[in-house]
Each structure stands twice: as C-alpha cells, then as structure tokens.
C-alpha cells in the first residue's frame, strides 16, 4: 500500500499511479484548475514534492511517504543548520553512458528507430518519459542529459546520432473558463479511465479519445468546418458546462452542454523543443515530433500562458503599443517563460501574431531546460576547482599552520606567530615551503637560444653553476611572471637549464614555453618539474650553519647553485634571496620533502629555527622592495613602469616583448611602481591597518594608490609599494601623502639597501666536521607496484618512477629496446615524453640532450576492474578504451589522471598535489555507489 501526504491529508495510491492520478482518485486537482494533459506538457499539475517546488505531478510516480503540497511555488524553507547545509551543498550522482545512438521517446516511431539502429549493430540507449526518464536537454558534445526516477542523472554521449521521437503534445484550450477543474485532454481522459477513475458525465469536444470504452462519453462535439467552435467553459471552480457555437457563424446561438468533465481533442503539436534546441547537432526527428506544427485559430479571450498568467487582452495590449516581434511579445508579457516553456502558449502566440500582423513568425528559441532539474541534479558530475597541496601540507598542519589558497595552491599563511616568524628570518634562521614554484628543466641544442628568445635578460652570460633573476614578458611587453634561471653546472652534452616561475604562474608556465618553443622552431626538451620537486627556502643569518649541521658543507656563493646532499637528500641548492637574508633554496624530489623538512627543523633546533608563513614572507620581501606578480603588477606593467629596466637587455637580440618594449618606450611614461616610506602611519595596537588600495596624493592631485603594505610594521614607519603617476611636467613627485599621511618616495630597498645580508660571505669555520651529524639516506615512501590492489578503502600512494623528455625518434627507439626491467610499466604521455616505473639510471641513445629524471610527482591506486568501471562510469565523461592493456589520459573526477587498463585491474595515476583530493573523491564516489546499490 502506498500512502502519501497531500496538504496534510493521507491518501492512498495504487500501484503504477503517478502522483497526479493518485490525487485525482480522491478528487484533488493539484493546482485547483486548468486542463490536465498527463503528459508533462502543461503547468497545470505542478506541486511541491518533498520540498522540491514546481514538480509535475503527472511525471512523478506516487511513492510511499511522499509529502506533497498543492502549492507549487515552494515554501518558506527554514534556515539550514551547518550539517544540513553541507549535505545540501552536495551534488547528485552522475552516470555517464556512451553509445552509438540515443532514441528519445519510445512510442511507435521511437521503438522503430531503436530497432533499426540495433539491427545494424549499433549500441542504442533509449529514454521514455513514461518510464520516468526525463530528458532535460540536447547539448553540444553531443550530450543528452536526463534524470530518472531513481534520482540518477544520466549524461549520455552518443557517437553517431540522436533520434528525437518525442511525439506530439495536445493543444490546450484558450477560452474563458480554461482554468476550471474538470478539463482534460483526450489522451489524458483515456489514461484516467484506464486507471479506473470515474469522469462522471464526460463530454468530448473536438477529436474524441480513441481508446475509451463505448458509452463512457455523454456527448461528442467535433470542431471546425461543419462542426462547432469552443466558446468557453462555465462553472464555479469546477466545469459545469461546455459552451459551444456553430463553427463559422459568430451570430449563432450558444449551446450549453452540461458535463462533469470536458474531454478536449483540440489537435496536436509536435513536441520538438529538443530537436529545435539541438539545431546543427546530429539529430533526426521521427514520428509525429517531425510533423509541421498546426496553428490553432487565433484566440479571442482567455488565458494564453497559464505559467505566467497572460491573457489575450494582455497580448492585444502590448501589440497596440508596438510590440510586434515574437520575442518582444514574449518579453513584454512574459508569455512562454514559465515551466512549460511555451508548450501551451506558443501555438497561440504564433496564430495571434499571424492574425494581427499578417506575418507567420518563427517559434521563439528553444532553450534548455526542457524538463527542469534541480540545482543539485544539474551539478551532478561537476567538481569545484581543486587546490594543489605541497608535499609538506601535512607538516604545516602538524605545526599549527592556517592554510590559505594562493595561486592555486594551499600555502601556510601563518603558524600563528606572525611577528616571531618574521623575526626568526631576520635574526636567526627559518624554513619556508616554496614547493609551489613553477619549475622547468630545459635542454637541447637550442636551449640557450630558446631562453634568449623568451626572457628579456641576457642568458649567454649566465655561466655554468650561476643563476639570475629573470622577467618573463608577454607579446605586449607587459610582465607575465618572474623567476630564476639556473644554468646547470655539470656540462652534460649541450646546455641544460632550470627555470622557475611564481606559484600563481606555474599553471601557465609550461603551455607558454611550449607555445614559444614551437613558434620559434627551437630544438629543445622541456620537462615540467613543478610537482616533481619540492623546495624549501632556508633563510636567515644562521642559514649556512643550519645546513652545515644537516651535512651540507659545500654551499654555493650568492648567485650560484649546486647539487648538494642535505640530510641525505639530493638537492639543488640555489642561492638568491627574496627575504633579504642569507637564503638557500633547496629543490629536491617531492617524495623526500617531508623527511628533509623534519631534519632541517631538527638540525636547526639549536638555532631557534621555525617555519615562516606567507604573511611573514610578504612583509620580508616588501622591506626589500621585491614585487609580487599580480599584487604589485597589472596587465599594463611594462618593465619601465615597474622600474625593472635593469632586467631587460634590449641589445641582446630579439625576445618576446622586445619590440613592444621599444614601442612603448617611445611613449611618455605615465606611472611607475615606487617604494614609499610612510612615517607614523595611523597606529592601532602596535600595528597599523593595511593601506593597500589607499590613494596617494601629490598635493591635491590624485597620484596613484598603494599596492603593498603589510600593515604590521612596528616601529613608527612603514614601507609600501604603490603606483605613482607622474605630474603634468612629467616628474615623479618625491613627497606625497598616503591616506593623508606624509610619505616619501625612496629609491631602493629600505632594509639593508646594499644587500650585504643576502650576499654575505659565509664563514663556516666554527662548524667543525665532528659537529656535523650524518643522516641516513631517506627511505622512500613510494611503494612497489607489485603490492597490487590495496585493501578498501583505496589509498593513494607515491609512485617511484622516472620521466624522460627526448625526441620522438629517440623515445620510439628507447621503448623498443628498454634499458629497464621487463616488469616496469611504461606510459608514453606524449610523443616525446615517457613515464616509466624504473630508476633513472639510464641514458637515451641518440639524444645526448634527453632529460631523464627521478619522478615522484604521481600518486597511484590500483582498482579491481569492476570497482574501476563503477567509479569511472560516474567520474569519467570521456569514452575509455575497450582493448586491454591500454593507456589513456584525461580528466577524472575533476582532476587530471592517467589510466592504465589491464585485464582485471586498472591503475589510476594522478599528480601528487591533487592526490588527497582525488582520494577523497574516489572514496566518496565508491561509498555512494555502494550505498546506492543496497
């Protein structure tokens, strides 16, 4: 027995009843009146079901425990508690279906189309609203989106064809009284009688329903030539009589036919919204959906659009005022903008415009959604953008860091001791996690020439083992990014370089480089090591002493870099400085990051080492006048405006942005990024509120605004960066005000202007070798692939592998005669790039420039085939290869993934920075599938 609650009243439904039929059994009209079609074409059966408003009760099966309100507008939902909000904020599950042909509608023509397609061997998916499958839209892709009664959202990807066999909708009456109860379409009448509902004295108008048992109609009045014309329905709430008049004779007397139910066969119109929506997609319309629309006669009186409550008088009103286009008529009355999207009114609007204007206008655009899904249903299959995690993420959490999103990464904002973090850098030694920097290895015969073309700094003079701060410009001569460029010390055959970008630029870095490498036709190998390498900045006056304690005695001088083993980890140690203090940036394999970090903290304990967050870093660099891309720079930041002309060598030959720099240098300078010293900024409790965004004035003249101010400087004055506009004489003012406070433009950094601290010569004599602890080689956390399929729940693990960047020819040869063991898995991720689960102890024959590097930037999980298929059906929208074994790559669960399909099991690889997110999505998805299966 199915019991449901309608407006607090318990009603019982029979098996197979739709909600509408169950309500009509007990005499409840869902909306209190209006002709019912029982086919989802009209808005006259809308109710609120279980809190979901605007639900077509004829399209929903009656279910036990359903709570229904005959008020389709929805209620006053109570405020959500946080827990409820969390679950309310989740999306419905999606399910991807790949097939050859989709057939929408399973009437005679739809069944025939499906049969024909299957006969020639096509894989066919069929949908029918009568089976609770509601197609909401046909989209580019092509993609057909549908929802079923089980709450699943289906994303169907047909390879060949979409067949629209949605049939025809019955035309609704537009006459006075069309909002009464007791009006049904002819097909609805047949369904109701079939369900055992007594229509009382039923009178058919127009074409009578075919399937009715004889004797169930009390009268039949054909319409049109030789027949009748429908004038109105009489009644008070419920229809009492149909009023007719002889067709074609306006003077004829009205005939009033008493009835309990008026059965209306007013004609049919193709249900072609999906086909119109699809326009140039591979769509075939069959059956009555393909017929030409029949225009009803122009309505004289009554409601044309029941969704928006638009009457014929309303149409006339706007027509009289000059709204003659279909779209203007629609917009001026809102006809056709409700739930049925013109299903009821469109034929009448067209006939209205034809009669008034003498011109048949096309139907208004068919727009999604054909059936209105809820926000959570539509969100099915989507994920919010994933934020990358450094390999040190958990270390920061362990140390009490507050993590913040910055440039696409989670970064430690503070560890809760901002001032102390700052002081530890200035006075002692500190660690900073800079793993999020973009990192690129570049090699090849044209490596140097290529870099000369993409950075404005002279590359030729960077000697082996040296590094230099470089800008990257776009073709407009505006600053795109900055970083440091290292030329490898070890002279492998040909040149090899290492280039960093900012964290925010790391996503863009590789595509930008490859774009220019192709544009210039340079013979280079490029390997993106952003996720492969973690980086820790050891900074502060005691940095060298800390590193010595960690076993690193041979440290590079300022402006140099070298390979050094630190605490047992192979590092590239780069010595430049962003904080203004003695700094060593340690680039090392991501899998070793956690141990290196812990051992550096251990080794530095005696010096009072502690990590610093981004907030302290922003303050440290500001005192040195170092710019932050995106904060101090803007889309129009030329090197000249940024006062970075020193980083541009216009005499070295062509580079990206050179002509633009020459061109813009011919224009008078308008503004410059300057450092400002503000005395006594308005102080709070030892700190002042940040002045970022504050206006700079030169006397009364607006002269720019502040881009950087930490607002935390103690000691009565503050250093800021800001854009300063030149005055009418083309001069850059020296004395200005910031928010009314006197400020002075300063040249160069306010902290350690000579840069002595960063460049300090390091005296390590106090560190006798016996004081140096030797650390064991770090054991890898990566697990052997042979471990196979892990226990539930699946956990992602680090992958120990090797990545190769070389020429396509050399790679083909390498794969043919692999130098690694037969058990290794090989994934050719691009014609010139390879990932192999082996150690990097081989070279590449035929390419002395090949880059072969240890790779720990991936996490992996093995899933058994059935689990993998269930997961991928939900989270992978592209078609998977059918063969085994097979390799494929693309987005899975919103994250870039590489898939390796073997008989019986599937390997999923994902970049380690996204591993935690992937694991969470995998676990959640499998749990939902398992939950849903019971």
């Amino acid at each position: 027995m199915t019991t449901l609650l309608v407006d607090g009243q318990r009603i019982e439904a029979r098996g197979g009843d739709s909600l509408l039929v169950a309500m009509l059994r007990v005499g409840l009209h869902p909306t209190g009146g209006g002709c019912l079609c029982l086919a989802g074409d009209c808005p006259n059966c809308l109710v609120t079901v279980d809190g979901v408003a605007y639900t077509r009760s004829c399209q929903v099966p009656a279910r036990d425990g359903m709570i229904v309100r005959r008020d389709h507008l929805g209620g006053e939902e109570p405020a959500l508690l946080p827990d409820e909000a969390m679950s309310a904020g989740s999306a419905a599950p999606a399910h991807h279906v790949h097939c050859d042909t989709v057939v929408i509608g399973q009437g005679a023509s739809g069944r025939e189309a499906a049969r024909e397609a299957r006969e020639v061997g096509f894989d066919v998916a069929t949908f029918d609203a009568r089976d609770g499958q509601h197609v909401t839209g046909v989209y580019p892709g092509p993609l057909v989106v549908a929802a079923d009664d089980g709450g699943r959202v289906l994303h169907v990807h047909p390879r060949r064809e979409i067949v629209v066999a949605t049939g025809a909708a019955e035309i609704q009456p537009v006459v006075p009284g069309s909002d009464l109860e007791g009006l049904v379409t002819a097909r609805a009448a047949a369904k109701l009688v079939g369900a055992g509902i007594d229509l009382g004295r039923a009178v058919a108008v127009g074409e009578p329903p075919g399937e009715l048992p004889s004797g169930s109609l009390a009268g039949h009045f054909p319409l049109g030539q030789g027949g009748w014309e429908l004038v109105r329905f009489d009644g008070d709430g419920r229809v009492e009589a149909v009023v007719l008049r002889r067709h074609g004779d306006d003077g004829a007397a009205e005939e009033r036919i008493q009835c309990d139910t008026a059965v209306l066969g007013l004609g049919r119109n193709p249900r072609n919204a999906l086909a119109r929506m699809a326009s140039d997609l591979p769509v075939r319309v069959v059956g009555s959906a393909a017929t030409e629309p029949e225009l009803p006669s122009c309505p004289r009186e009554g409601t044309v659009c029941p969704c928006s409550g638009v009457t014929v008088a309303d149409l006339d009103g706007v027509w009289e005022r000059g709204f003659h286009e279909m779209e203007l008529l629609k917009r001026a009355t809102l006809a056709g903008t409700g739930t049925c999207q013109g299903g009821v009114c469109l034929p009448y609007l067209r006939s209205f415009l034809l009669e008034r204007g003498g011109r048949l206008q096309p139907a208004f655009t068919a727009r999604p959604l054909n059936r209105q899904l809820t926000v959570r249903e539509l969100a099915a299959g989507a994920h919010t953008a994933v934020t990358a995690r450094s390999p040190l993420h958990d270390e920061h959490l362990r140390l009490g860091a507050r993590m913040d999103r910055a440039g696409g990464w989670w970064r430690p904002w503070t560890y809760g001791r901002q001032d102390d973090e700052y002081r530890s850098v200035r006075e002692r030694v500190s660690l900073g996690d800079v793993s999020s920097l973009g990192k690129m290895a570049i090699s090849g015969p044209d490596a140097e020439a290529f870099l000369e073309r993409i950075v404005p700094t002279r590359v030729a003079t960077i000697r082996p083992g040296r590094c230099r701060y470089v800008l990257m410009l776009d073709e407009r001569g505006y600053l795109l990014d900055d970083g440091m460029l290292c030329r490898e010390a070890e002279q492998v055959a040909g040149d090899r370089f290492f280039l960093t970008s900012t964290s925010g630029g790391s996503g863009f870095f590789e595509l930008w480089m490859r774009d220019w490498a192709e544009a210039f036709g340079c013979d280079v190998r490029i390997l993106n090591q952003t996720a492969s390498l973690a980086a820790i900045n050891v900074t502060g006056p005691l940095a060298a002493r800390l590193l010595a304690r960690a076993g690193a005695l041979e440290l590079p001088a300022f402006g140099r870099h070298r390979r050094v083993r630190v605490a047992g980890v192979d590092c590239r140690v780069v010595r430049l400085s962003f904080t203004g203090e003695l700094s060593y940036e340690l680039h090392h394999p991501a899998a070793d990051a956690r141990k290196l970090w812990r051992r550096l903290l251990e080794a530095g304990a005696a010096f009072g080492v502690q990590p610093h967050g981004l907030e302290a870093l922003l303050r440290l660099r500001l005192e040195k006048g170092h710019i932050v891309i995106g904060q101090d720079t803007d889309y129009d930041s030329t090197p000249r405006r940024l006062a970075h002309e020193w980083a541009v060598d216009l005499n070295k030959g062509d580079f990206v942005g050179r002509q633009a720099v020459l061109r813009t240098n011919k224009q008078p300078l308008d503004k410059r990024l300057v450092a400002l010293r503000v005395d006594n900024p308005p102080a709070g409790d030892g700190a002042h509120p940040s002045a970022e965004g504050a206006a700079i004035h030169d006397g009364d003249r607006y002269a720019g605004y502040v881009t950087s101010d930490t607002g935390t400087t103690a000691g009565g004055d503050a250093t800021m960066l800001g854009w300063l506009y030149l005055d009418a004489e083309g001069r850059l003012p020296r004395e200005v005000t910031v928010d009314g406070h006197p400020a002075r433009r300063v040249d160069g950094p306010t902290y350690d202007p000579e840069g002595e601290r960063a460049r300090a010569a390091v005296d390590r004599r106090d560190e006798a070798p016996e004081n140096v602890r030797e650390f064991p080689v770090v054991r890898l956390e990566a697990t052997d692939l042979a471990a196979g399929i892990p226990a539930e729940p699946p956990r992602l693990r680090w992958l120990e592998a090797t990545r190769v960047s070389t020429t396509p020819e050399a790679l083909a040869a390498l794969v043919k005669r692999p130098p690694w063991s037969a058990g290794a898995l090989t994934f050719r991720t691009a014609p010139d790039e390879l990932l192999v689960t082996a150690t990097p102890d081989f070279g590449v024959a035929g390419d002395p420039h090949a880059i072969v590097e240890r790779e720990t930037a991936f996490s992996y999980v093995w899933l058994d085939e059935a689990t993998a298929e269930r997961f991928l059906d939900r989270e992978c929208e592209w078609p998977r290869p059918g063969a085994r074994p097979a390799f494929a790559q693309g987005e899975v669960a919103g994250i870039p993934a590489r898939l390796w399909f073997e008989a019986g099991k599937t390997l999923i690889l994902t970049p380690a920075p996204f591993a935690a997110a992937f694991e969470r999505r995998l676990t959640a998805s499998l749990a939902e599938i398992d939950g849903g299966a019971t």
């Binding site: 006053e76 909000a85 999306a91 709204f323 655009t365 919010t384 904060q631 889309y635």
Partner: protein
Amino acid sequence: MNEFTERQMQLTWRAPKKSYDVVIVGAGGHGLATAYYLATRHGITNVGVFERGYIGGGNSGRNTTIIRANYGIPAAVRFYQRSVDLYRGLEQETDRWLMHQQKGILWMAHSEAAVRAERMRAKLNTEFGAETEFVGPRQVEELCPQLDMSGGGRWPVLGASYHPQGATARHDRVVWALAEGAMERGAHVHQNTPVEGLILDGERVAGVRTAAGDVAARAVVSAVGGHVSRIAAMAGLRLPIRTHRLQAFVTNHYRQQFGPIVASSELFFYASQTARGEMLLGAEIDPQPSFSYRSSHDFVQDVCRRALCLLPFMSNLRVLRQWTGVCDMSPDYSPIMGRTGVPGFFITTGWGTWGFKAIPAGGEQMAELIATGEIPELIAPFGLDRFARDRTMADRGSAGTH
C-alpha cells in the same frame, strides 16, 4: 495579467529615410541610449537606428541586469558611478517602471589574497565616489542570511567588499524606455534591417548600406554587440576585440527574499534574485572565441556545483531556463568609446560582460561626443587609440565577472 506585463510604453515605427544626421548601427541598450541622449540632451532627433533583429535582442536582453560601479581603476569607477547615478534617475526621467531596485552587492573573499583584493577595491572605489566598504563575516551573514559561511566546509567567507549602490533593473524595460524616449522625440528605429555595408566618401564614412537601401549620414556610430569586428572591417579597421559567449540561467521562483547580489571571484559565479523571485546566476565568459548562441551543459553544471558551496538552499530549486549572449572583449577589460580615426565613424564597443550597467552613461557620453565634437572627459581614457598610446585601461575590477 501578471504584474510584469508591460502597460506603459509606446513604440512608434516609421519608414526609413534616405538620410539622417546620425545613423546608429545596433538597437541595443547602447545604440538606443545614444539616440535617447542625442534627443533629450542635445535636441538631435534626425537619427536613424538600424537593427538586424528586434530591439534589445542582443546582449541587452541576455545579460544579468546588474548595475554597479565598484571597478578597479579610477577612470572606470568614475564612469560607472555616472551610470549608476543616471540609472537611479531614469525611472523618474522617463516616467517608466524599469524595476530598478537597489540591493547592494557583496563580493566574497575566501582567501587572504582575495581579502586583500576586496579591501583594496573598497578603498579605491570610495576614493572615487563609489561607496564600498570591506565587511567582516558577521556583517556578511547579516546582509545575506542564506549564505553558508563555511562555503560547504571548503570555501569559507573571510569577508567581502560591500557596495550598497549595487542594483538591478529589468533589461528589456531599460531598452524599451530608451527606444520610446528617442522615438517620441522623432528618432527612427528600424528593426529587421541589417546594415550590410558602409558608404565611404574617400576616407570618410558617409552612410550605411542596409537591407532597406542606402542611407546617408553625417555621423555613423557602431553600437553593435557581437559582430563589431565585421562592421569595423567595413571601415578598414582591425579592432582589439575578441568575441566570447557568456551564459546565464534562472531557477524557478524562490519564495523567500534573497537580499543582495552575491559574487565570488574565487568560485567564479554570482547570484541575485529577479523581481519575479527567480534566482539568476552567471559566471565568467567561455574561454574560446565564439559567436554561437548555444548554451552548454557544463556551464549550468559547473555553476550549480559552485553555487551550492555558498548557497546550499538552492539545492532543490529547479533551473528553469539557460541562455547565452556573445560579448566583445577588449584586451584590457575596459570599453572602447569614441572616435576611430576614420572620419564620420564612431564606435562604442568592448562592452564585454559589463555593458548593461554602462548603458545610460555610455549613451550620454557618446551623444555628447557626436553632438559637440569634443571628447567628454569621462570617456577620454577609453578611446580606441589608447593601445597605440600605451595607455591601456587594465581593469581587474571588471575581469572575471559581470
């Protein structure tokens, strides 16, 4: 009758003349506003506006109707504030109900960098007359109780910039009121009359070729949206414009009141409630250039997903309708208004995703330029020549969203 059925305006259609003082190409908001202000402010009524479809059928009728002035550079703040002010007086001036509703806009921050950006925005806007303040989480919650302040546990609201003058108006009504105001003073508007070419007299543009014949004009203004590169090419110009799709959707009526306009630059969406009670959502442009008006599923899918993080009450609302417009994007996310270097040919373009809010000020300023021959100070920074002069108007405040 529903309460929104138009009952006031009168559109008067006339046959095209052989010549006008001013021909405006495109009867969207900007074209009609230019005609309206030429008529009302300068008494210039011998004006013909040519439209290939119906009035307001392009982006004027496809936008998300948001009016605000909280932009990222002084020149833009001043210009949009002028538009906000004109909008506030437009109902009274035209004596027409435009459904103008001041509701405030909250621009949410979920990270320290965004907090900094919103604080900066507040300071800069206030300096140039567009009142904006940075508000903390408690005030955000008071202004919009429907927000999940935890952002679904992942996008916490750390604060927001609040721009109380943020408003909405019914886009169609704005277009019609301007059309009516121009028409009743004598301007002609011609629907279904595409401009197929420009008439050149030496270097000078001297009129347009239309489907209804050649029309001479002393000044031709392109107020075209979506196809401006084609019109400009007729005058031999290449523009710094690329055209992209911009999509939006509405849900069914939501019975509770949803107060302000809510935006998030990190989750890339914004939401407001229409006068009919629908929730209206939009986001950024599609990344690839396109002239297709086709809506995509991934748009509604992604925006629904992101919106659920902050507005979980929307979970059970049904999405009623999606649609698409095409936006002309300039390289610096600022409009391009003024002369073109071709005598007799003016342009107003680059309206990207911010065209609706600029309709009155854009029209007013273009009208002044055409009527007086002098470039008004307010739009002097937005000239087409700014790229050659290295004076791009890089505006972070407009990038990303509406």
